[in-house]
């Protein structure tokens, strides 16, 4: 189940978006999060919407995968809508039930904010659906590289991320093994009252922790034996390549931004 949450996210496909450099994708997402706040009327929101769906189309990701990522946050979108609907007190009163008044501005803001939310979620899911975790790690490492001058441990962070990614399936397998071992010894994980079930996690977590620390220590020794001594003087095997598509995509986003600024009220 957990595996699906983390790894089932990436959907391999041979699309323009998949082939893009993770750096440009990360930059675009970051800029998108900023420019979405420029939109403030129907026209500009439509531009954002068209842009989002155009990207989804280009990624060739089936809609059901996007829906899978959206489902858990959909109620949040609805909640935001209702919040805006009831608590904005501007414009003309549309509905008056005495104890609740709904204003025209409230309806408008409700739609705007929830759409903003909706598009943000779509775009960020698109990133994780079209980019492998390790690509994202490499992209982040490369983008954050200038921070090295400020002594920010960029390389160490990226290495930590990639090692965590590498060990997630291993720990998953191990959890499964320990779980079976404990079930064989009579621990009930799936039934019983809630408190009992929470308590049942303890004999699962403790062996897992103990073995993880052991793993960490052995891994550190193995890394040292293989000559690891920090990021300095290290070369990289995996390489990112900035392609024309990436430049075009960024340019396109710039055009969208200009349109947004021009059409905003």
């Amino acid at each position: 189940m957990m595996e699906k949450m983390i790894f089932g996210r990436y959907v391999p496909a041979d699309s323009m978006i998949h082939k893009m450099d993770p750096r440009s994708k990360l930059t675009i997402i970051f800029l998108f999060v900023c420019i979405i706040f420029i939109a403030n009327n129907w026209l500009t929101y439509t531009i954002i919407g068209v842009y989002t769906f155009l990207m989804i189309g280009l990624s060739r990701i089936p809609i059901r995968f996007l829906y899978g990522g959206l489902k858990p946050v959909l109620w949040l979108v609805a909640f935001t809508f209702l919040l805006q609907l009831f608590f904005t007190r501007e414009g003309t009163v549309v509905v008056d039930w005495g104890f609740v008044k709904i204003y025209a501005e409230g309806i408008k803001m409700g739609f705007y904010i929830s759409f903003r939310f909706f598009f943000l979620i779509l775009m960020t899911s698109l990133l994780t659906l079209t980019t492998t975790p390790i690509e994202i790690t490499d992209g982040l490492e490369s983008l954050l590289n200038p921070l090295k001058k400020l002594r920010f441990p960029v390389h160490e962070m990226a290495l930590m991320m990639s090692i965590s990614l590498r060990f997630i399936p291993t720990l998953m397998q191990e959890t499964d093994k320990i779980m079976k071992a404990q079930i064989a010894r009579g621990v009930e994980f799936a039934s019983g009252p809630l408190m009992e079930r929470i308590k049942a996690i303890i004999p699962l977590l403790i062996p897992l922790f103990v073995s993880s620390f052991k793993r960490a220590e052995e891994l550190a020794i193995a890394m040292e034996a293989r000559g690891y001594r920090g990021g300095e003087g290290r070369t990289k095997y995996r390489q990112l390549s900035w392609k024309t598509v990436d430049t075009l995509q960024l340019a396109f986003l710039a055009v969208v931004t200009i349109m947004l600024i021009y059409f905003r009220s």
Partner: protein, 279 residues
């Protein structure tokens, strides 16, 4: 005998907070191009030895020399370039997210240019017959395959010495055979020196020379034949003698004498099926 590539002189080592020395005045030499097995049961100091040879720990007393360099803190990185290590747990030494990334890890550490890296990664994976698994993730590999990737990772660094620190103890018989076969071929091909630290005497039986460790000291040193002739003593040291030796012992008890004191499994089979015709 060819010249010594590693030599230990009066090496003593003690872990912090322990009364007994893990190693006690240990001296021996390892010769270039040989396959040396260091055997001993748990706590005999054999794994400590591996850590010392690679500068992961430093001796309290005594001196270790690796290909002419005295092992001190200043040159451990040069020495680690000469010595490749394969550890016990296949999972806990797999650093990369895929097979190729893992092999490249050591090369990245050494700052090898990328073009050279690609070449070396491919080459060393071919040597261990894992070149079709380039993009495979570790959790889809068997233990034996992971160990072979680990060997490729070591090989890519072009070391002179490979240390197998219980590298086959967590593998099934097939994985064990795979790994040992790979190391054997590579050793012959590249004139490597192999130090295998193990408690499996079947594995040690394939070595050129065996050092038996007990309580932090060198108990006995010799060829497999010499070592296995002290069978009772080996059992007292908590080591299990190889199957072929057990069978031969049983034959001797029955008053049937075989040609040599020690035979490997294959030799024993050969001996047995030709036994009558020689009588």
């Amino acid at each position: 005998m060819s010249k010594a590539i590693v030599s230990l002189k009066e090496v003593t080592f003690q872990y912090d907070g322990q009364e007994r020395n893990a190693l006690n005045h240990v001296s021996f030499e390892i010769y270039e191009g040989e396959w040396l097995a260091i055997v001993g049961h748990n706590g005999s100091g054999k794994s400590t030895m591996a850590k010392l040879l690679n500068g992961l720990q430093f001796p309290k007393e005594g001196e270790i020399t690796v290909s002419g360099m005295k092992l001190v803190e200043e040159n451990i990185w040069d020495i680690r370039k000469k010595i490749g290590m394969v550890f016990q747990n296949p999972d806990n030494q797999f650093v990369g997210t895929t097979v190729q990334d893992d092999v490249a890890f050591g090369l990245e550490n050494m700052g090898i240019p990328r073009e050279e890296m690609i070449h070396r990664v491919e080459d060393s994976l071919k040597k261990v017959k894992m070149d079709t698994f380039l993009h495979q993730e570790p959790h889809h590999l068997s233990g034996g395959q992971k160990q072979r990737v680990a060997i490729a990772g070591v090989l890519a660094l072009r070391p002179a010495i490979i240390i197998l620190d219980e590298a086959t103890s967590m593998l099934d018989p097939r994985g064990r055979a795979e790994v040992l076969e790979t190391v054997r071929t590579l050793k012959d091909e590249k004139a490597l020196t192999v130090i295998s630290i193990t408690h499996d005497l079947e594995e040690a039986a394939k070595a050129d020379r065996i050092i038996v460790m007990n309580k932090g000291e060198v108990f006995r040193e010799g060829t497999p034949e010499e070592i296995f002739s002290m069978d009772e003593q080996l059992i007292e040291l908590g080591l299990d003698i190889p199957f072929s030796v057990k069978v031969m012992k049983a034959f001797r008890k029955q008053g049937i004498s075989l040609a040599k004191h020690y035979l490997s499994e294959e030799e024993l089979v050969e001996e047995l099926w030709t036994f009558r015709s020689r009588m």
